[in-house]
Structure formats: C-alpha cells, structure tokens
Symmetry: C2
Subunit: 525 residues, 2 copies
C-alpha cells in the first residue's frame, strides 16, 4: 500500500509544511519509514473551509444518498486486505485477528447508520397542523425536523485504530447526520489512518459526494486550531481526560462556543455480590482476570475497580483472583506513551499508603505487566482522586466494603462511569435491588453477569455517562443514538409543501413515522 | 396576597440573611413594600442540597405521578386571581389582559408536558433483544431509556413573568424530566415569583411530591453559587447575551462541567420580498410596525432587522413603515434597567455613521419611544457587531440590499437567530427558494407570512437556534422537545425484567411505543 503522508483537503492531497512526523512500530519502537506532513495553519484552515463548503451540498442530499455513501465506505473498508491489517498491527501491536474483527465492526457500524438514515427516525419529524378555528387564537401550521449542525471535528482513539478512529463511530455518526468531517489523524497510527481515509475518499468519489465531505490532517498540536476554527460546529473525541477536557475548555471559550462530545475516563466498577461469589467465585476470578487483561487492558470499559463485601467467600475470591492475575503474561501496549502512562499510574498506586499490591511482576521492560491492587474503602468514602483516575492498561483495584450500607456509600463516592456491572445471583438481586438506582446515577450502561469490555453496536447501546466518563452524559459515542449529537431541530411555520424538507411534506414521501398532532403516524396528510 | 419574601428550601421558608431586596412598581419606579431576603451562601447550598435529596425519590416516581403534579401546578396557577394579576402588572407594567393570557399559557404548558409524560415518547425506549445464535458472537439483551439528569437551576426571564419564569417552560420541562428545580427568582418580579412558587409548593404537597422538588432563592449574585454547586446538573436561562454567556462560562469551568441552555440574543430578520411588497406593501408596513412595538417590543422574537431589495416598492414601503412607526406611542418598559439598556442601544445606533434615523421621537422620560433606523448593507457584509446585537425594545433596523446575490451575502453575515421570516407571495417563493437553506443554517424557526412574536407551545415548536440566539442550537426552550435537554440515556445489559424500568419491561406495562430490534412497536415481548 502506498502511503503518501499528505493531508486530505477537499479530495486532494496537500503537503505544504516542512514538519515531518512518523508513526512507530509499536512492538520494536522503531520509526516507520513513512513521512507524514504536519498540517500548516493554512492547511488546517483549508480543511475546515472545505468541510464548510461541502456542508450545504452534503446536508441537502437525500438521506438515502448519504446511506449509499456510508455503505460504499463499508465496502471499501471490508476490501482492505492483509497488507492493511499488517500495517495496523505494526502501528498498534494489536493482533491480526483483533484487527480483522474490528474491520468488520467498523464497516458494520457504517451500514447500521445507513439503516438509520433509511428508517428516518433520526429526523424527529413532528407536525402540528393548523387549527384555524381555535379560540382565542388560531394555531398556524408548525412542522419540525432535524438537520446536521455543520462541519464536525473528530479526534480518534489510539485503542480502536479502526472502530473509534478515522472511519469510526464519531465519523459515521457525523456523516450520517449530514455533517462533513475534518479528522485529526491519530499520531499512533497514521499509516492506518491514511489507508482508511483513502477508502473514505474512494467511496465519496464513487457515490458523487462533494469533495470536502471528508478531510484529514496530520501532525501534533493541529487539533487546537481545528477546534477553534469558526466553521467547526461540534467535536467528537475519544481519549484521555486531560486531552478531552482541554478540547472542552477550548470549545467553551470560542466566540461561538460549540459542543464537545469527549469520551474520556472511566474505571467501570464491577460489584461482586455474595451469592454469586458463593456459587461461582472461582469462575468469576478467572473470567475477571481475562477481562482485565484482554487486549492488554486497553479498553475504555476495562474493569478498573472490583468491589465486594467482607466475607470468607470474598477472601477466597481475592486469593483466586490474585493467583489468576499473577498468571497473566506481559503484553505490548499501543505505543511507548501508553506504556509510560501505565507505569506512572502503577507508581501512584504503589506509592499510596492505603493501597496494597496483591499480584503482578515488577513493571519493567517494553511490555505492560498485569497488576492487582487492593485499596482501602476510605479512598472511595473520602473521595481520594487516586482511585477515580483510569489507569489505562492491564491492572485493576479491589476494594472490600464492610456491609451493604458501606457499599452504597462507596458507590456514591464514585465519579461518572461508562459502565457499572453487577455479578449476582437472583438472591443477590433481591437483596441488593436498591443498588440499581445508585448505579443509574453513576453510569451510562448497567450490566448484569457480563463483563463491560464488549460494546455492542446497536440501537440500544449507550457508550457514555456522567463526567468524567464523557463531557456530556446526554450522548453516546457507540450505537445509533450517537447521531443525535450532531443534529439540531428546525421548525417551519406556515411553509408551503414545496419548500418543506421531504420529511415534513404532506404526502410523507419518505414513508417515515412522524408525530402528527401528538400521535405517531406514517399516513400522508 | 401575603408576600413573606423568604427563600423556599425543601418546602419550608428560610430568611437567614440580613440583605433585603425589593422589587419596584414598574410604572412609577417606587420600591414595593415587600421585603425579600437575599439567600445566604448557606441557603443557596441548602436549596441545591434539597433538590439533590429529592432527586432519587422524584425521578423514581412513575411518569403519571409527575404528570399529576404538573396538572396540579396548572390548576393552582389557573386559580391565581385578580389580586395576583394586579401584582404582576405592578411589577412589570404589562397590561392585565396580557398577564391573564400568559397565565393560561403557563398552565397550558404544564398540562402539555403532562401529556408528554403519559404519551411516553420522552423515554426514547429502545430494545435490542438477545441473539444467542448470532455468529461469530451472540448478542446480549440491551435496552435503553432516558432519565432526568439531576437537579436543574433555572433563571427566569423578565419579559414573561409567568410563561418563562418561576413555573415557566424551563421549570416545566425539568420537572417533567424528573429533575428537581432550584429557581432563582427574577429581581424584576419577586412578588410575582413568590405567588407562583406558593402555587407550585401547594401542588407538590397535594400530590405528595418530595419536599425539595422545587426550591426558590432571592437576591443579587446568588445565581453564581447556584450554577457552581456540585449538585446542579444543568441550567436553563432566558435573558441577555452577557448574562447567559457568563453562566455558560461558569458552568464550563466547573470541575464537572454541566450543560447550560441559555436563550439569549436574536434580531429575528424579516425579509420582505418584491412581489409581496407589490401586492401588500402598505399592509405589511402596518402589521410590521405593530409587531415591532407590541408589548413594547419586549419579546425575544421581536423583529429587529427588516431586509428588502432596492426598488420603487421597497422605497414606498419604507415611507409607509416610517409613517406607521412614527404613529406608535411610548410605552412603559418592564423595569428601569430595561429602559436604560434600550436608551443605550438607541444611542449606539444614532452614533453609527452608516445608520440613519428614519422615525421616532427623541427618546426621553420614563417610557420607551418606538424608533426606526436604516443601516447600510455594509454593516452586514462586513460583520459589524452593532447590527448583530439585540436592542431590546420597540425599535428595528431596515437594510436595503442591491440585488438577490447581495441579499444572500447579507444573510450569511448574520449570527444565529431564533427566527427568520419571509414575507412573500408564491412568485417570490419560486424566485427566492434558494434563501431557505441559508435561513435553515441561521435560525431555529422559519416563518412564512407571519410575525415571529407569537410562539406556539406545541410538539413542533423550536424556540432555539445557533449561537448567540441560544448557547446550544440542539435544544428548544418552548414546546415539548424542551424536555430532551434534561434527559440522558441509560442502557441495561442482560437485566431481568424485575430490575428494568417499566418503560423497558417485556410486558410494556406503560403501553408506549418502543424501538424493538429496529422497528417501532407497542407490543409486549
């Protein structure tokens, strides 16, 4: 595969700058041979302007046309072959089977958004017909539907080089909403990003999309200028709390503030309840160690906090869990920066006087070694920040609580989370039903007897949650509801049929469900 | 009516502070005799904590119970009699008939949200059933619905002392969503606020709501502590750009940033198209002068910019419009601060070398005198800030453009708006259809052959729009969609029926429409 390393602006390639950056072989740490040209301020501006120029054309296309575009992207992504997979593996140290699976997930979510576009519920079409006889005042005809907010800046994640990156969930949701995208290529997998960007551009050409519908820029520090560009109307981000918060602060300080949907930091508490421990404590210990170390623990939904009630069963579980964690081998992380952060996170846990190291070999060398810690419950009760911060990698912290009341207090001490999991038997659910409303306040997704590391892409998924899990708990970055983040409602008062969007025309030419005078209906008016 | 002037905290009255504030008779400027006790920092904290304590109880109530609460508020508001209307008139100088109408609108929107709660679409219920046989991986059962974000701080508007204030649209939307409210009483109508707060508290008691479901604080500067309080999870605001932006900045800078829905500044362009001027220029001049001066021009949707194409008809219209504006008498504004702002706004227009005064008596005395200005189109084309800022009161600015191309360029120069209006005949709509997509980008509501000052409360209304019309174009503060601002989705994975919210249970006990495996359905599963 040919990697040119030039920025993507309105369907052409641009390398006006002199700063050249490189991605590295994640396993060896060697710089790869591809040169990537850091976007100049003029190129960042041109990319945003290209998206702005494409916006009126792109958003005016019928939703079915946008669906065809997404499906063409899906086909192009599916067609990326073994040489592509090899590049991704080299840049991320993720195994080939994982990348092959992620490729299918990435094309699958493009196709799912195409379905949403055909289904038409994203329009949120509402019609209140005129009531000329109403007293004291007549009602005029009012109709509402949603349209894309405008160009969206997307920052991809390091840990999902396909599904949460160049053609990932945020890009898919924005393109589905009718919003052109300017994507900031992730510095950890720029060659991967280029292959995917090529796929998107090919799909755009094949389906006759405006040239600026997708743009991509390379380089360090170019994201700031992008977020501050007046043409950009929203931001999607997946990454660290520090990085996400910085973008939020920049966006809020713009002359025109814009929304940022940042998926950031979550420790994903897992509550192991007494009856479950009695019946299957050993199995849970084994499964949980697998979940914590799977993919080197590099998941937003990695279980970073395990909470149980003091008991003989919990002690036995802890012992089995520690043994299982001690058995887990070292793995290569996504990049040297990730490993460094992991080491820093471990050091902070080791240094805390109320945190005990239970299992794991001393962290050293070029790979991450799985670790298990136990923290005193006072850290949660007293709001110690240490436990709240995600340590990205194959480690987790156990907390033992004295009784159910302390469990509830400990949960109240948690910040917002992407997920919260109960490992429980029916008897536990009866005894601990009162935990559910607490968990609802803390997390976007509540699991029972599963592990949070799998995130299904579907209508009902929520991959979001209260701060700092995300910057806005009202959104999700996975699943079809993600499109809502990039839509805004517009109301038409007394407009003739010819000037209304198809979604609101009397004949209902799209055949979609609409809320008509307060009732859902697919009928023509 | 007895006005105690004490803060409302968890259903009791509190006057711990020593600072006493007063509202004034808007017509005479005299301070009214009621003492209002400015909330102390401890009282602000207590009000927020009361809302936080009420939240888990209140949000767990069936939606039908919340509907009964809203209907009880409506009944209490309808029962507020002539003595109440007299107080509102005294504090705002608005005429009794207007207040009576607004009372009906305020109770009406409470009842409309009760309908929304019974209809159940606000839940956004989505169910993806398990697919145990799916390859390569089975799908688990995933269900999603929405719940209230938590306690909401609401700041009411001066210009709608009932419909956008204590029990106004933001309060109704938040209470409907399951969010307790802390309301900052507007300093311009504190006695009004007390009467309405009493009505809400009576309704809460009658329907068995938790005591902290509604709280209200008086005083200057108490809003800042409220917005910064960690219990507060969202903010609703209607008022000035300066005030709204300050709240947005505070909220964004919190350790946990929260969304602010601020409805702020809009000049509501009205485009008078050639054929309409030919056929009914004189009528438009008359209607428009009525719309600009109605209610002393104190509407968020007041038409502050009139744009037409250079022609003999437009010149004739201008003459008629100037004559009609010159005929409009002075009116008393909501309060002395509003008059002062109006005078300042007029002075800036008078001082601009490219703005011409066309009609209106010299502004002086205690009332606002209607004014008409004409600005050179270069102000729009070159982005002069003067024209973008709302002058709150009975004044408007006319701009003449040379041709349709200049009209489009001028529109592109506008900031975000609540409304954009076309006054047009069918021939105009054919000739100027290309304006609609431009207006869609600029405003939340597009009107044809109407005046924007009437805002219907219904499902299809959008009272929102791109910045600075609001701080978040994805919301509306009028109409049932307003509830969305205060809801967030939660996903349940593999949860048993007993632990699911009613909206997601297999039997569909609420009988609501849900998205089941991608299809809308009211069936039980």
């Amino acid at each position: 595969m040919r990697i040119e390393g030039k920025n993507y602006i309105a369907g052409t390639r641009s390398s006006a700058g002199t700063v050249v950056v490189h991605s590295v072989d994640a396993t060896t740490g060697e710089a790869l041979s591809y040169d990537f040209f850091q976007a100049t301020p003029e190129e960042v501006n041109a990319a945003a302007e290209a998206a702005a120029a494409a916006y009126p054309v792109y958003r005016a296309l019928p939703a079915t046309r946008r669906a065809e575009f997404l499906e063409a992207i899906a086909a192009e992504i599916d067609a990326l072959g073994d040489d592509f997979v090899a590049i991704v593996c080299r840049e991320t140290a993720l195994p080939a089977a994982r990348i092959q699976g992620e490729r299918g997930r990435t094309s699958g979510q493009m196709r799912l958004f195409a379905q949403v576009l055909r289904r038409g519920d994203f329009y949120g079409a509402r019609i209140d017909r005129a009531l000329p006889e109403r007293k004291p005042l007549p009602r005029v005809d009012l109709r509402q539907c949603r349209l894309g907010v405008g160009p969206v800046a997307v920052f991809g994640a390091s840990n999902f080089p396909l599904a949460f990156s160049t053609a990932g969930g945020d890009t898919a949701a924005a393109l589905a909403a009718g919003c052109p995208v300017v994507f900031k290529a992730h510095s950890g997998h720029m060659a991967t990003a280029e292959c995917v960007a090529d796929a998107i551009v090919r799909a755009a050409e094949k389906t006759g999309m405006p040239a600026g519908v997708f743009n991509m820029i390379y380089g360090n520090g170019v994201g700031e200028a992008l977020v501050k560009h007046p043409a950009i109307q929203a931001v999607g981000f997946t990454g660290s709390l520090k990085g996400g918060r910085a973008l939020c602060d920049m966006a809020a300080a713009r002359p025109q503030p814009i929304p940022v949907f940042a998926e950031m930091s979550s420790i994903n508490p897992v509550l192991v309840l007494p009856e479950a421990l009695k019946q299957r404590g050993a199995a849970i210990a084994k499964e949980l160690s697998g979940s914590v170390t799977m993919g080197c623990g590099q998941f937003c939904t990695n279980p970073g906090l395990i909470v149980g009630l003091r008991s003989a069963e919990f002690s036995a579980f802890l012992e089995a869990f520690a043994a299982a964690m001690a058995d887990q081998g070292p793995q290569t992380m996504l990049n040297p920066g990730t490993l460094k952060s992991y080491e820093k996170g471990l050091a902070a846990l080791h240094a805390h006087p109320k945190v005990k190291h239970l299992a794991g070999q001393q962290q050293e060398g070029n790979q991450a070694r799985p670790q298990l810690f136990q923290a005193d419950v006072s850290l949660l009760l007293e709001g110690d920040e240490l436990l709240q911060e995600e340590v990205f990698g194959p480690t987790t912290v156990v907390v033992e609580v004295a009784d159910p009341a302390e469990l509830v207090r400990a949960l109240h001490g948690l910040h917002g989370q992407l997920t919260a999991t109960l490992l429980a038997e029916p008897a536990d659910l009866t005894a601990f039903a009162a935990l559910v409303p607490v968990l609802e306040q803390k997390a976007g997704r509540l699991l029972l007897n599963g592990y949070p590391t799998g995130v299904e892409v579907c209508d009902a998924m929520v991959h979001g949650g209260p701060y700092p899990a995300t910057s806005d708990a009202r959104g999700t970055s996975v699943g079809t509801l993600a499109i809502d983040r990039f839509l805004r409602p517009v109301c038409y008062q007394n407009y003739p049929d010819a000037l209304l969007p198809d979604a609101l025309k009397n004949a209902n030419p799209l055949g979609i469900q609409r809320l008509v005078d307060g009732q859902p209906s697919r009928e023509a008016l």
